[in-house]
C-alpha cells in the first residue's frame, strides 16, 4: 500500500457514493432512500474537502462543504416531514405505494 494521498480519498468517496446510489435504488422504505441520499451527499463533501486540501490549498472547498451540510439538513427536514405526511395519508412508508399522482 502506498502513502495516503488524494487518490485514496477519491476511491473512498466513490465507494460511499455507489453504496448510497445502491441504497436509493434498492430500498422501498422512504426513510431508507433518504439514508442513501445522505451517504451520497457525504461522499461529495469528502471530495470537496480532499481536493481543497491536496490540490487547491485553500478554504473554498470547505466552505462549499459547509453549504452542502446546511442544505442536506434542510432537505432532511422537508423529506422527513413528507414521509410523516405520507404515513398519515397512506398508512405506510413504502415508496412504491404512493402513486396518487400517477392516474
Amino acid at each position: 500500500m502506498m502513502d495516503v494521498g488524494l487518490q485514496h480519498f477519491v476511491v473512498v468517496s466513490a465507494l460511499l457514493f455507489c453504496l448510497g446510489l445502491f441504497a436509493v435504488m434498492k430500498r422501498r422504505n422512504a426513510v431508507g432512500i433518504l439514508m442513501g441520499v445522505e451517504l451520497m451527499l457525504n461522499s461529495a463533501n469528502l471530495n470537496f474537502v480532499a481536493f481543497s486540501r491536496y490540490v487547491q490549498h485553500s478554504i473554498d472547498g470547505q466552505i462549499m462543504a459547509t453549504f452542502v451540510i446546511v442544505l442536506a439538513a434542510a432537505e432532511a427536514a422537508v423529506a422527513l416531514a413528507i414521509v410523516l405526511a405520507m404515513f398519515r395519508n397512506f398508512g405506510t412508508v413504502n415508496a412504491a405505494t404512493a402513486t396518487s399522482l400517477k392516474r
Binding site: 476511491v11 466513490a14 465507494l15 455507489c18 446510489l21 426513510v31 481536493f51 486540501r53 490540490v55
Partner: protein, 182 residues
C-alpha cells in the same frame, strides 16, 4: 506506512463497513444506527484532512440533528415486517449491477487521472478563515442559505401539521346552524 496512514485506513473502514449495513440491513433501525457510525467516520476523515471546523459541524448537524430526525421518523412510522426481506435479493440485482458499473467508471477516473496534487502545507486552524470568508466573498450564498433554511423549516412545519382549518370550520358551522334553528 506511517501512523497517520493507519489512522486513515481505520477511519475509511469506520466509514465504509457500516455503510454496507446502511444499504443492506433489512431492519431500518439497524440501518439508522449504522448511518451514525458512517457519519462519525466521515467526520474523522474531515479531521484527518485538517478541516477541524467542518468535522465539528458534521458532528453537530448530522449526528446531532439529521440522525435524530431520521431515528424519530423511523420510530413514528410503523414499518411492516416484510420490508426488504421478501424477494430482496432478486430486486437488488439490477440496482447492484448499475451501482457496480458506476463504481468501475469512477475507479477508472480516480486511478487514471493526474489530479495535480501538490506538496501539502501544514494544516492550520480553519475556523477564523471560514468565518471571514462567510462575511466577505461568500456573503450572498450565506444569506441565501439562511432564506432556504427558513423556507424549509416553515415548509416542514406546514407539511406535518394536523388538518386544523377544516376541524375549526365545522364547529363554527354547527353553532351557526344551531343559532338559525333556535
Amino acid at each position: 506506512m506511517t501512523a497517520a496512514d493507519l489512522i486513515f485506513y481505520a477511519l475509511a473502514a469506520l466509514t465504509l463497513v457500516p455503510a454496507l449495513w446502511v444499504v443492506g440491513s433489512p431492519n431500518i433501525v439497524h440501518a439508522g444506527f449504522n448511518l451514525l457510525l458512517t457519519l462519525l467516520g466521515v467526520a474523522g476523515l474531515f479531521a484527518w484532512l485538517g478541516a477541524d471546523f467542518l468535522a465539528v459541524t458534521q458532528l453537530m448537524v448530522y449526528v446531532g440533528g439529521v440522525l435524530v430526525l431520521v431515528l424519530f421518523t423511523v420510530m413514528m412510522t410503523r414499518v411492516p415486517k416484510a420490508e426488504g426481506s421478501g424477494g430482496g435479493a432478486k430486486r437488488a440485482i439490477l440496482p447492484g449491477l448499475f451501482a457496480l458499473g458506476v463504481f468501475v467508471v469512477l475507479l477508472q477516473v480516480a486511478t487514471g487521472t493526474e489530479w495535480g496534487s501538490t506538496a501539502l502545507k501544514e494544516a492550520q486552524p480553519t475556523t477564523a478563515e471560514i468565518g471571514a470568508n462567510f462575511m466577505t466573498s461568500y456573503i450572498f450564498p450565506f444569506e441565501y442559505v439562511s432564506l432556504v433554511l427558513l423556507a424549509a423549516l416553515i415548509g416542514a412545519a406546514i407539511l406535518i401539521r394536523e388538518a386544523r382549518p377544516e376541524q375549526d370550520d365545522e364547529p363554527a358551522a354547527e353553532t351557526g346552524e344551531e343559532e338559525v334553528q333556535s
